[in-house]
Assembly symmetry: C2
Homo-oligomer: 193 residues x 2
Protein backbone atom coordinates (compact mmCIF):
# COMPACT_ATOMS: atom_id res chain seq x y z
CA UNK A 1 0.00 0.00 0.00
CA UNK A 2 1.60 3.34 -1.02
CA UNK A 3 2.04 5.88 1.77
CA UNK A 4 0.27 9.28 1.41
CA UNK A 5 3.59 11.10 0.83
CA UNK A 6 4.46 8.67 -1.99
CA UNK A 7 1.09 9.26 -3.61
CA UNK A 8 1.59 13.03 -3.46
CA UNK A 9 5.05 12.71 -5.02
CA UNK A 10 3.66 10.46 -7.76
CA UNK A 11 0.99 13.05 -8.56
CA UNK A 12 3.61 15.83 -8.77
CA UNK A 13 5.83 13.71 -10.99
CA UNK A 14 2.99 12.78 -13.37
CA UNK A 15 1.87 16.43 -13.56
CA UNK A 16 5.43 17.57 -14.29
CA UNK A 17 5.80 14.94 -17.03
CA UNK A 18 2.57 16.05 -18.73
CA UNK A 19 3.48 19.75 -18.42
CA UNK A 20 6.88 19.20 -20.06
CA UNK A 21 5.27 17.00 -22.74
CA UNK A 22 2.87 19.84 -23.61
CA UNK A 23 5.66 22.43 -23.70
CA UNK A 24 8.48 20.51 -25.37
CA UNK A 25 6.94 17.42 -26.99
CA UNK A 26 7.98 13.81 -26.40
CA UNK A 27 11.66 14.37 -27.29
CA UNK A 28 11.85 17.22 -24.76
CA UNK A 29 10.85 15.06 -21.77
CA UNK A 30 13.71 13.71 -19.64
CA UNK A 31 13.62 12.02 -16.23
CA UNK A 32 16.03 14.71 -15.01
CA UNK A 33 13.79 17.54 -16.19
CA UNK A 34 10.68 15.90 -14.70
CA UNK A 35 12.41 15.35 -11.34
CA UNK A 36 13.60 18.98 -11.23
CA UNK A 37 10.15 20.34 -12.06
CA UNK A 38 8.45 18.08 -9.52
CA UNK A 39 11.01 18.98 -6.86
CA UNK A 40 12.10 15.38 -6.21
CA UNK A 41 15.31 13.39 -6.65
CA UNK A 42 15.77 11.43 -9.88
CA UNK A 43 15.91 8.25 -7.79
CA UNK A 44 12.37 9.00 -6.57
CA UNK A 45 11.17 8.92 -10.17
CA UNK A 46 13.13 5.77 -11.02
CA UNK A 47 11.77 3.98 -7.95
CA UNK A 48 8.32 3.90 -9.60
CA UNK A 49 9.05 4.17 -13.35
CA UNK A 50 12.02 2.47 -14.99
CA UNK A 51 12.08 4.68 -18.09
CA UNK A 52 10.76 7.88 -19.60
CA UNK A 53 8.44 5.79 -21.79
CA UNK A 54 6.99 4.02 -18.75
CA UNK A 55 6.43 7.33 -16.96
CA UNK A 56 4.74 8.87 -19.99
CA UNK A 57 2.52 5.83 -20.67
CA UNK A 58 1.49 5.86 -17.01
CA UNK A 59 0.89 9.64 -17.00
CA UNK A 60 -0.92 10.04 -20.31
CA UNK A 61 -2.71 6.77 -21.19
CA UNK A 62 -3.44 4.75 -18.08
CA UNK A 63 -1.66 3.97 -14.82
CA UNK A 64 -0.08 0.58 -14.27
CA UNK A 65 -2.46 0.01 -11.34
CA UNK A 66 -5.87 -0.15 -12.98
CA UNK A 67 -8.00 -1.10 -10.01
CA UNK A 68 -10.92 -3.50 -10.26
CA UNK A 69 -12.64 -3.70 -13.66
CA UNK A 70 -16.22 -2.52 -14.27
CA UNK A 71 -18.90 -4.90 -12.96
CA UNK A 72 -22.19 -4.11 -14.68
CA UNK A 73 -23.78 -7.52 -14.31
CA UNK A 74 -23.27 -8.84 -17.85
CA UNK A 75 -20.46 -9.34 -20.34
CA UNK A 76 -21.69 -6.81 -22.89
CA UNK A 77 -21.99 -4.11 -20.23
CA UNK A 78 -18.54 -4.81 -18.84
CA UNK A 79 -16.92 -4.79 -22.30
CA UNK A 80 -18.76 -1.59 -23.24
CA UNK A 81 -17.43 0.09 -20.09
CA UNK A 82 -13.86 -1.03 -20.81
CA UNK A 83 -14.17 0.05 -24.46
CA UNK A 84 -15.35 3.49 -23.36
CA UNK A 85 -12.26 3.77 -21.12
CA UNK A 86 -9.97 2.65 -23.98
CA UNK A 87 -11.47 5.28 -26.30
CA UNK A 88 -11.05 7.95 -23.61
CA UNK A 89 -7.48 6.85 -22.86
CA UNK A 90 -6.44 6.97 -26.53
CA UNK A 91 -8.12 10.25 -27.48
CA UNK A 92 -7.13 12.44 -24.50
CA UNK A 93 -4.95 15.32 -25.72
CA UNK A 94 -1.87 14.30 -23.71
CA UNK A 95 -2.20 10.71 -24.98
CA UNK A 96 -2.21 11.97 -28.56
CA UNK A 97 0.93 13.97 -27.80
CA UNK A 98 2.72 10.97 -26.29
CA UNK A 99 1.62 8.11 -28.56
CA UNK A 100 3.90 8.66 -31.59
CA UNK A 101 7.01 8.96 -29.43
CA UNK A 102 6.01 5.94 -27.35
CA UNK A 103 5.40 3.94 -30.52
CA UNK A 104 8.78 4.85 -31.96
CA UNK A 105 10.61 4.08 -28.71
CA UNK A 106 8.86 0.71 -28.32
CA UNK A 107 9.54 -0.20 -31.96
CA UNK A 108 13.26 0.42 -31.58
CA UNK A 109 13.79 -1.14 -28.13
CA UNK A 110 12.66 -4.75 -27.57
CA UNK A 111 13.50 -4.61 -23.83
CA UNK A 112 11.36 -1.52 -23.37
CA UNK A 113 8.62 -3.20 -25.42
CA UNK A 114 8.70 -6.24 -23.12
CA UNK A 115 8.66 -4.03 -20.00
CA UNK A 116 5.64 -2.02 -21.15
CA UNK A 117 3.85 -5.18 -22.29
CA UNK A 118 4.37 -6.79 -18.92
CA UNK A 119 3.33 -3.78 -16.88
CA UNK A 120 0.54 -2.07 -18.86
CA UNK A 121 -0.78 -4.81 -21.17
CA UNK A 122 -0.50 -7.08 -18.12
CA UNK A 123 -2.83 -4.78 -16.19
CA UNK A 124 -5.31 -4.77 -19.10
CA UNK A 125 -5.16 -8.57 -19.40
CA UNK A 126 -5.85 -8.93 -15.69
CA UNK A 127 -8.98 -6.78 -16.03
CA UNK A 128 -10.24 -8.81 -18.99
CA UNK A 129 -9.45 -12.06 -17.17
CA UNK A 130 -11.69 -10.97 -14.28
CA UNK A 131 -14.49 -9.92 -16.65
CA UNK A 132 -14.29 -13.16 -18.65
CA UNK A 133 -14.17 -15.31 -15.50
CA UNK A 134 -17.31 -13.62 -14.16
CA UNK A 135 -19.04 -14.07 -17.54
CA UNK A 136 -18.06 -17.76 -17.50
CA UNK A 137 -19.49 -18.04 -13.99
CA UNK A 138 -22.81 -16.67 -15.27
CA UNK A 139 -22.73 -19.10 -18.21
CA UNK A 140 -22.38 -16.31 -20.77
CA UNK A 141 -19.15 -17.66 -22.31
CA UNK A 142 -17.40 -21.05 -22.37
CA UNK A 143 -15.37 -21.82 -19.24
CA UNK A 144 -12.13 -21.97 -21.24
CA UNK A 145 -12.53 -18.56 -22.90
CA UNK A 146 -9.13 -17.05 -23.58
CA UNK A 147 -8.69 -13.63 -21.89
CA UNK A 148 -5.96 -12.74 -24.40
CA UNK A 149 -8.46 -13.22 -27.23
CA UNK A 150 -10.93 -11.03 -25.33
CA UNK A 151 -8.32 -8.28 -24.95
CA UNK A 152 -7.34 -8.39 -28.62
CA UNK A 153 -10.98 -8.35 -29.82
CA UNK A 154 -11.71 -5.30 -27.68
CA UNK A 155 -8.45 -3.33 -27.75
CA UNK A 156 -7.31 -4.30 -31.27
CA UNK A 157 -9.86 -2.47 -33.42
CA UNK A 158 -9.73 0.66 -31.24
CA UNK A 159 -5.94 0.85 -31.06
CA UNK A 160 -5.64 0.12 -34.79
CA UNK A 161 -8.10 2.91 -35.58
CA UNK A 162 -6.23 5.32 -33.28
CA UNK A 163 -2.77 4.50 -34.59
CA UNK A 164 -3.07 3.28 -38.17
CA UNK A 165 -6.35 3.11 -40.06
CA UNK A 166 -8.00 6.28 -38.70
CA UNK A 167 -7.82 9.49 -40.67
CA UNK A 168 -9.55 12.86 -40.53
CA UNK A 169 -12.80 11.29 -41.75
CA UNK A 170 -12.51 8.07 -39.74
CA UNK A 171 -11.57 9.10 -36.18
CA UNK A 172 -11.73 6.91 -33.10
CA UNK A 173 -15.09 7.69 -31.47
CA UNK A 174 -17.18 6.48 -28.51
CA UNK A 175 -19.64 5.10 -31.10
CA UNK A 176 -16.92 2.86 -32.54
CA UNK A 177 -16.10 1.77 -28.97
CA UNK A 178 -19.71 0.73 -28.44
CA UNK A 179 -19.82 -1.22 -31.72
CA UNK A 180 -16.55 -3.00 -31.02
CA UNK A 181 -17.71 -3.95 -27.51
CA UNK A 182 -20.97 -5.36 -28.89
CA UNK A 183 -19.06 -7.32 -31.53
CA UNK A 184 -16.56 -8.68 -29.00
CA UNK A 185 -19.36 -9.75 -26.64
CA UNK A 186 -21.07 -11.71 -29.43
CA UNK A 187 -17.82 -13.21 -30.66
CA UNK A 188 -16.89 -14.46 -27.19
CA UNK A 189 -20.39 -15.70 -26.37
CA UNK A 190 -20.53 -18.17 -29.22
CA UNK A 191 -16.86 -18.98 -29.80
CA UNK A 192 -15.98 -22.63 -30.05
CA UNK A 193 -12.66 -24.22 -29.27
CA UNK B 1 -1.23 -1.78 -67.22
CA UNK B 2 2.47 -2.17 -66.36
CA UNK B 3 4.72 -3.22 -69.22
CA UNK B 4 6.63 -6.52 -68.86
CA UNK B 5 9.97 -4.70 -68.53
CA UNK B 6 8.53 -2.59 -65.69
CA UNK B 7 7.29 -5.70 -63.93
CA UNK B 8 10.72 -7.31 -64.18
CA UNK B 9 12.38 -4.17 -62.81
CA UNK B 10 9.88 -4.07 -59.93
CA UNK B 11 10.69 -7.70 -59.08
CA UNK B 12 14.43 -6.96 -59.07
CA UNK B 13 13.94 -3.89 -56.90
CA UNK B 14 11.77 -5.72 -54.36
CA UNK B 15 14.25 -8.61 -54.20
CA UNK B 16 17.16 -6.20 -53.70
CA UNK B 17 15.28 -4.39 -50.91
CA UNK B 18 14.58 -7.66 -49.08
CA UNK B 19 18.17 -8.88 -49.54
CA UNK B 20 19.61 -5.68 -48.06
CA UNK B 21 17.04 -5.78 -45.24
CA UNK B 22 18.21 -9.29 -44.33
CA UNK B 23 21.87 -8.33 -44.44
CA UNK B 24 21.85 -4.87 -42.90
CA UNK B 25 18.50 -4.48 -41.12
CA UNK B 26 15.98 -1.69 -41.64
CA UNK B 27 18.45 1.16 -40.97
CA UNK B 28 20.82 -0.29 -43.59
CA UNK B 29 18.32 -0.07 -46.45
CA UNK B 30 18.61 3.01 -48.69
CA UNK B 31 16.97 3.76 -52.04
CA UNK B 32 20.46 4.32 -53.46
CA UNK B 33 21.69 0.93 -52.26
CA UNK B 34 18.58 -0.86 -53.52
CA UNK B 35 18.87 0.79 -56.95
CA UNK B 36 22.55 -0.13 -57.23
CA UNK B 37 21.90 -3.75 -56.26
CA UNK B 38 18.95 -4.06 -58.64
CA UNK B 39 20.96 -2.45 -61.45
CA UNK B 40 18.47 0.37 -62.06
CA UNK B 41 18.52 4.15 -61.73
CA UNK B 42 17.29 5.70 -58.47
CA UNK B 43 14.57 7.45 -60.48
CA UNK B 44 13.25 4.03 -61.53
CA UNK B 45 12.72 3.18 -57.87
CA UNK B 46 11.15 6.54 -57.04
CA UNK B 47 8.75 6.27 -59.98
CA UNK B 48 6.94 3.44 -58.16
CA UNK B 49 7.75 4.02 -54.44
CA UNK B 50 7.99 7.49 -52.93
CA UNK B 51 10.03 6.44 -49.90
CA UNK B 52 12.10 3.65 -48.42
CA UNK B 53 9.21 2.87 -46.05
CA UNK B 54 6.79 2.51 -48.96
CA UNK B 55 9.19 0.22 -50.81
CA UNK B 56 9.74 -1.95 -47.72
CA UNK B 57 6.04 -2.17 -46.84
CA UNK B 58 5.31 -3.18 -50.45
CA UNK B 59 8.20 -5.70 -50.54
CA UNK B 60 7.73 -7.35 -47.14
CA UNK B 61 4.06 -7.08 -46.08
CA UNK B 62 1.81 -6.71 -49.10
CA UNK B 63 1.93 -4.88 -52.43
CA UNK B 64 -0.10 -1.73 -52.97
CA UNK B 65 -2.02 -3.50 -55.74
CA UNK B 66 -3.87 -6.26 -53.94
CA UNK B 67 -5.99 -7.60 -56.75
CA UNK B 68 -9.55 -8.81 -56.28
CA UNK B 69 -10.45 -10.06 -52.79
CA UNK B 70 -11.34 -13.70 -52.05
CA UNK B 71 -14.83 -14.73 -53.14
CA UNK B 72 -15.81 -17.88 -51.28
CA UNK B 73 -19.57 -17.40 -51.46
CA UNK B 74 -20.24 -16.17 -47.93
CA UNK B 75 -19.03 -13.47 -45.58
CA UNK B 76 -17.42 -15.79 -43.05
CA UNK B 77 -15.43 -17.58 -45.74
CA UNK B 78 -14.25 -14.32 -47.29
CA UNK B 79 -13.20 -12.87 -43.92
CA UNK B 80 -11.43 -16.10 -42.98
CA UNK B 81 -9.47 -15.98 -46.24
CA UNK B 82 -8.47 -12.34 -45.67
CA UNK B 83 -7.54 -13.06 -42.04
CA UNK B 84 -5.32 -15.94 -43.18
CA UNK B 85 -3.56 -13.55 -45.56
CA UNK B 86 -3.12 -10.94 -42.81
CA UNK B 87 -1.58 -13.55 -40.49
CA UNK B 88 0.75 -14.70 -43.28
CA UNK B 89 1.69 -11.10 -44.17
CA UNK B 90 2.53 -10.18 -40.57
CA UNK B 91 4.45 -13.33 -39.63
CA UNK B 92 6.68 -13.76 -42.72
CA UNK B 93 10.33 -13.41 -41.69
CA UNK B 94 11.00 -10.33 -43.81
CA UNK B 95 7.86 -8.66 -42.43
CA UNK B 96 9.09 -9.24 -38.88
CA UNK B 97 12.42 -7.67 -39.87
CA UNK B 98 10.78 -4.60 -41.40
CA UNK B 99 7.89 -3.94 -39.00
CA UNK B 100 9.73 -2.20 -36.10
CA UNK B 101 11.53 0.21 -38.44
CA UNK B 102 8.34 0.91 -40.37
CA UNK B 103 6.50 1.54 -37.12
CA UNK B 104 9.14 3.96 -35.87
CA UNK B 105 9.28 5.84 -39.21
CA UNK B 106 5.51 6.13 -39.40
CA UNK B 107 5.28 7.29 -35.77
CA UNK B 108 7.77 10.11 -36.36
CA UNK B 109 6.56 11.30 -39.78
CA UNK B 110 2.88 12.25 -40.19
CA UNK B 111 3.25 12.78 -43.96
CA UNK B 112 4.69 9.30 -44.39
CA UNK B 113 1.92 7.93 -42.17
CA UNK B 114 -0.72 9.57 -44.38
CA UNK B 115 0.96 8.29 -47.55
CA UNK B 116 1.11 4.67 -46.30
CA UNK B 117 -2.45 4.88 -44.99
CA UNK B 118 -3.72 6.10 -48.33
CA UNK B 119 -1.83 3.54 -50.40
CA UNK B 120 -1.79 0.35 -48.33
CA UNK B 121 -4.68 0.75 -45.87
CA UNK B 122 -6.60 2.11 -48.87
CA UNK B 123 -6.01 -1.15 -50.73
CA UNK B 124 -7.16 -3.16 -47.69
CA UNK B 125 -10.27 -0.99 -47.29
CA UNK B 126 -11.13 -1.49 -50.95
CA UNK B 127 -10.97 -5.27 -50.51
CA UNK B 128 -13.20 -5.17 -47.44
CA UNK B 129 -15.63 -2.80 -49.21
CA UNK B 130 -16.05 -5.36 -52.01
CA UNK B 131 -16.52 -8.22 -49.54
CA UNK B 132 -19.05 -6.26 -47.45
CA UNK B 133 -20.98 -5.11 -50.53
CA UNK B 134 -21.28 -8.69 -51.78
CA UNK B 135 -22.41 -9.81 -48.30
CA UNK B 136 -25.01 -7.01 -48.28
CA UNK B 137 -26.21 -8.17 -51.71
CA UNK B 138 -26.75 -11.66 -50.29
CA UNK B 139 -28.59 -10.20 -47.29
CA UNK B 140 -25.91 -11.35 -44.84
CA UNK B 141 -25.26 -7.85 -43.43
CA UNK B 142 -27.19 -4.56 -43.37
CA UNK B 143 -26.89 -2.52 -46.58
CA UNK B 144 -25.20 0.36 -44.76
CA UNK B 145 -22.45 -1.77 -43.17
CA UNK B 146 -19.32 0.33 -42.70
CA UNK B 147 -16.29 -1.20 -44.49
CA UNK B 148 -13.95 0.70 -42.16
CA UNK B 149 -15.54 -1.06 -39.20
CA UNK B 150 -15.11 -4.38 -41.02
CA UNK B 151 -11.42 -3.66 -41.61
CA UNK B 152 -10.81 -2.67 -37.99
CA UNK B 153 -12.65 -5.72 -36.61
CA UNK B 154 -10.55 -8.03 -38.79
CA UNK B 155 -7.16 -6.34 -38.94
CA UNK B 156 -7.20 -4.75 -35.48
CA UNK B 157 -6.90 -7.83 -33.24
CA UNK B 158 -4.30 -9.46 -35.51
CA UNK B 159 -2.12 -6.36 -35.89
CA UNK B 160 -2.39 -5.61 -32.17
CA UNK B 161 -1.31 -9.17 -31.34
CA UNK B 162 1.61 -8.93 -33.79
CA UNK B 163 2.83 -5.53 -32.63
CA UNK B 164 1.83 -5.03 -29.01
CA UNK B 165 0.04 -7.66 -26.95
CA UNK B 166 1.75 -10.76 -28.32
CA UNK B 167 4.65 -12.28 -26.43
CA UNK B 168 6.56 -15.54 -26.59
CA UNK B 169 3.57 -17.42 -25.16
CA UNK B 170 0.90 -15.52 -27.10
CA UNK B 171 2.09 -15.38 -30.72
CA UNK B 172 -0.01 -14.43 -33.74
CA UNK B 173 -1.23 -17.73 -35.21
CA UNK B 174 -3.52 -18.93 -38.01
CA UNK B 175 -5.86 -20.20 -35.28
CA UNK B 176 -6.21 -16.67 -33.91
CA UNK B 177 -6.89 -15.48 -37.48
CA UNK B 178 -9.73 -17.99 -37.80
CA UNK B 179 -11.27 -16.95 -34.47
CA UNK B 180 -11.04 -13.25 -35.27
CA UNK B 181 -12.65 -13.83 -38.69
CA UNK B 182 -15.51 -15.79 -37.11
CA UNK B 183 -16.00 -13.04 -34.52
CA UNK B 184 -15.95 -10.29 -37.14
CA UNK B 185 -18.47 -12.14 -39.32
CA UNK B 186 -20.88 -12.46 -36.42
CA UNK B 187 -20.35 -8.87 -35.29
CA UNK B 188 -21.08 -7.53 -38.78
CA UNK B 189 -24.04 -9.84 -39.39
CA UNK B 190 -26.07 -8.53 -36.48
CA UNK B 191 -24.78 -4.98 -36.06
CA UNK B 192 -27.42 -2.30 -35.78
CA UNK B 193 -27.02 1.35 -36.64
Amino acid sequence: VPRPRDAAAARSIRAAAVAILREAGYPGVTIEGVAARAGVAKTTVYRRWRSKAELLFDSTIHPAELGPPPDTGDLHGDLAAVAAMIVADLTRSEARLALPGLLADVAMDPDLHAALRERFIGAERAQLATIVARAAGRGEVPADTDPDLALDLLLGPLLTRALFTGGPETPLTPELGARVAAGAARALAVQSN
